[in-house]
Each structure stands twice: as structure tokens, then as C-alpha cells.
Symmetry: C2
Subunit: 195 residues, 2 copies
Amino acid sequence: MKLLKEKIQQEGIILSESVLKVDSFLNHQIDPDLTVAMGKDFYQHFSKGKKVTKVLTIESSGIAVGLTTALEFGVPLVFARKKKSLTMNNEVFVSKVYSFTKQETNEITVSKKFLSADDHVLIIDDFLANGEAALGLVSIVQQAGASLAGMGIVIEKAFQDGGQKLRNAGFHVYSLAQIIRLDHEKKKIEFREEA
Amino acid sequence: MKLLKEKIQQEGIILSESVLKVDSFLNHQIDPDLTVAMGKDFYQHFSKGKKVTKVLTIESSGIAVGLTTALEFGVPLVFARKKKSLTMNNEVFVSKVYSFTKQETNEITVSKKFLSADDHVLIIDDFLANGEAALGLVSIVQQAGASLAGMGIVIEKAFQDGGQKLRNAGFHVYSLAQIIRLDHEKKKIEFREEA
Ligand SMILES: Nc1nc2c(ncn2[C@@H]2O[C@H](COP(=O)(O)OP(=O)(O)O)[C@@H](OP(=O)(O)OP(=O)(O)O)[C@H]2O)c(=O)[nH]1
Ligand SMILES: Nc1nc2c(ncn2[C@@H]2O[C@H](COP(=O)(O)OP(=O)(O)O)[C@@H](OP(=O)(O)OP(=O)(O)O)[C@H]2O)c(=O)[nH]1
């Protein structure tokens, strides 16, 4: 997505060879118009197949783009919780997600009330790195007996193995921007060029 | 807001005399069209004064309605973090927020890059109960030297003292629904009637 790549080039900060900071429009401050454009892009891509009935994401940075995507499809958004919320009941799907950074395993949950075998789910998230969170969401879709339309990712770090893991497992992954390399020394972000 | 009150009556679950569960459209599953309507309502209410330059909320449940509100105003959304995120820097405004439920004090943060003295900020959140989180956000606006347009709240529990605290402090608080009472026995939600 051209507009997104321009925004990344203008405002993205390379923190290291493996971490890109995009707090100014995606992870802390959010650009609403860009977020709407991303939702429309995901809709264009995923509306051609079987009818999507739910958009599934995970708190917090997935919510904004998950919402604008759900808006285009005219379906509800569900966001997985990383920690127990005040009113979360015990009837939940649970998935374990390993964090390489924190070196710990955490649970993510989705209430059974909001995903059923009748659903055709589109997973949306902001970053795809090692794919653990994405696989956790896939597991929840599978536990619900729902079918998976695919995964829409805003920024895929193609130098990490999440994309490969997911595609090798047969899932359809569509990223608005794929980063091949973060050159920390030259402060240069290299994208995979659009076909 | 009539549409919201109807939704609360249809789908809200009274968990106790003080807690209402609205997971099906506000806190876990999100109704995108309703969320857009809420954003338009907040815009109608707060667009009459000095020009709002930023919408400020707090992760996670404030993000969706914060986004649709920011969309109407054509300004960025900023969401305060409750815990350190991967790329959060040390140049942050910090505020302590006490949780009566957890009986602990936590810190919420907003990067100094995203709030300045030139901003006129509209705070948006899903629930107003004891007002601690709202006061935390107000403190951050004040630390930035920004002015406060007011606070837009989806559901105010008027039987708790958050609304009174904020209004007594001189802040303009506008709630889309004010709940006077949660009758756990009769399973009845009592709203303050619209003027
Ligand atoms: N800005 C930025 N973030 C990255 C990058 N790579 C991964 N992340 C995000 O950092 C967080 C790291 O998550 P961990 O669970 O600790 O996973 P990991 O160490 O195994 O990668 C995740 O945020 P999250 O769970 O989505 O948090 P939230 O923002 O939704 O609260 C992930 O999306 C990157 O290059 N830049
Ligand atoms: N559903 C529901 N939630 C309520 C009600 N009253 C308060 N809350 C929410 O519960 C959470 C309680 O926060 P605490 O910080 O523990 O505060 P408290 O015990 O002093 O009220 C907050 O969610 P949060 O921080 O906004 O969490 P998140 O949903 O954004 O992750 C608050 O908005 C209620 O009657 N119903």
C-alpha cells in the first residue's frame, strides 16, 4: 500500500536491525484517515472470497485497523484479551502465546459467545514478526470451529519467520507493507516491491 | 443517546449492583456502526466550542470509540498506555491511577511527542465509574500544557462519584448514557432520562 509505505518512510524510526517504531500513526498515536484507508485495502483484498462474518484482532494496536476493516465488511469486530478483564467470563477460548522478547508464555482469550462454527473470520493485526500472536488467534478460530478467510497484516517484517510459518501452514496472509530489511546504520527501510 | 440505551437494554448484563457487562458491543466484541454513531454524537456535542486538535483515550476499550470520534473531527487519536510497550521511549507524561478493584496504583503514559501546549484535547472513554482513569488523563493533558475541551463518556455510572468529581473540578463531561441504578434482583437498568 503506497500511502502506508510513504508514511513509514516519513515517520518510521529504526530502533535496531529488527525493530521499527511507528508510534506516530499506528502504535500510540493513530492516523484515522490512514486507518480507514487500510481498512478499505483489506476489504478490497478479502471481500472476493466467501463472505466474512467477523473480524478478529488482539488488543491494543490491532483494534483501530480491525475496526475500520470491520466497518467496510459491515460485521462485528472481536478483539482478543491478553489479560483478564473485569467482566470476562469463564466460557472462553484460550491460546498460549510465547514472547521471545519477554521470554514468557501468556494466554490470550476470546469469549465463546463471539465466535462460532458459523463464522468466517478475517484476522487483522498491526505487526507480523515471529507469528506467535497470529498463530494464537488462528488457534482460537479453530477451537471455535470457524473457518479462516485469512490474515491481514499492516506491517510484515519479512526478515522474521512469522510470514513463512503462516504461509507454510496454508494460511492466506496479505500484508500492506513487507519490510525486507531495517538498515540501522544507514537509517534505511527496505520494502519488498509491490508486484 | 437513544440507540445506545436500546442496545444496553437489549444486550447489557447486570453482574451486580455496580457492574454492567456490555461485552457484546463495547468491551470485547465491538459494533462498528454503533461506534461510528457514538463518534458522530460526540462530534455534534464537542464541535461547537474551540477547535479540537487531538482525541485522547486509554487502551483498550476507549480506542474504537476514540477512533470514530477522531475521524469526525479529522484529528489524530492518541491512546494512553497502561504498561510499557516495546517502543515506548522515556520522554513520557506519567500519571498514577488507583484501582479500587485491584487495590493498587498503576501508571499510565503518553509520549511527549504527541501532546503539546498547542493542543485542545477531547478525552474519550467507554466507562466513567470512580473517575480515577479520567483524572489520570486530565493530569496528562495538564502536564502537556494543553487545554481540555472536555470528556466524552459512553456509559456513566451515575451512582458512582466519578462524574461528580470531574464536574466539581470544573470539567465538561458529556455522557451518551447515564445509569442511575443497576437493579441486580429485577435485572433492570435505570437511565437518567434525556433532557
Ligand atoms: N513497533 C513495533 N512493534 C513490534 C515490532 N515487532 C513486534 N512488535 C510488537 O511488539 C510486541 C512484542 O510482542 P511479544 O509478545 O513480546 O513478542 P515477541 O517478543 O515474541 O516478538 C507486539 O506488540 P503488541 O502485542 O501488538 O502490543 P500492542 O501495541 O498491541 O499493545 C508486537 O506486535 C516492531 O518492529 N515494531
Ligand atoms: N464492563 C464494565 N466495565 C467497567 C464497569 N465499571 C468500570 N469498568 C471498567 O473496569 C475496569 C476497572 O478498572 P480499575 O482500574 O480496576 O478501576 P476501579 O476498580 O477503580 O473501577 C476499567 O476498564 P478499562 O481499564 O477501561 O479496561 P479495558 O476494557 O479498556 O481494557 C473500567 O473502565 C462496569 O460497570 N462495566
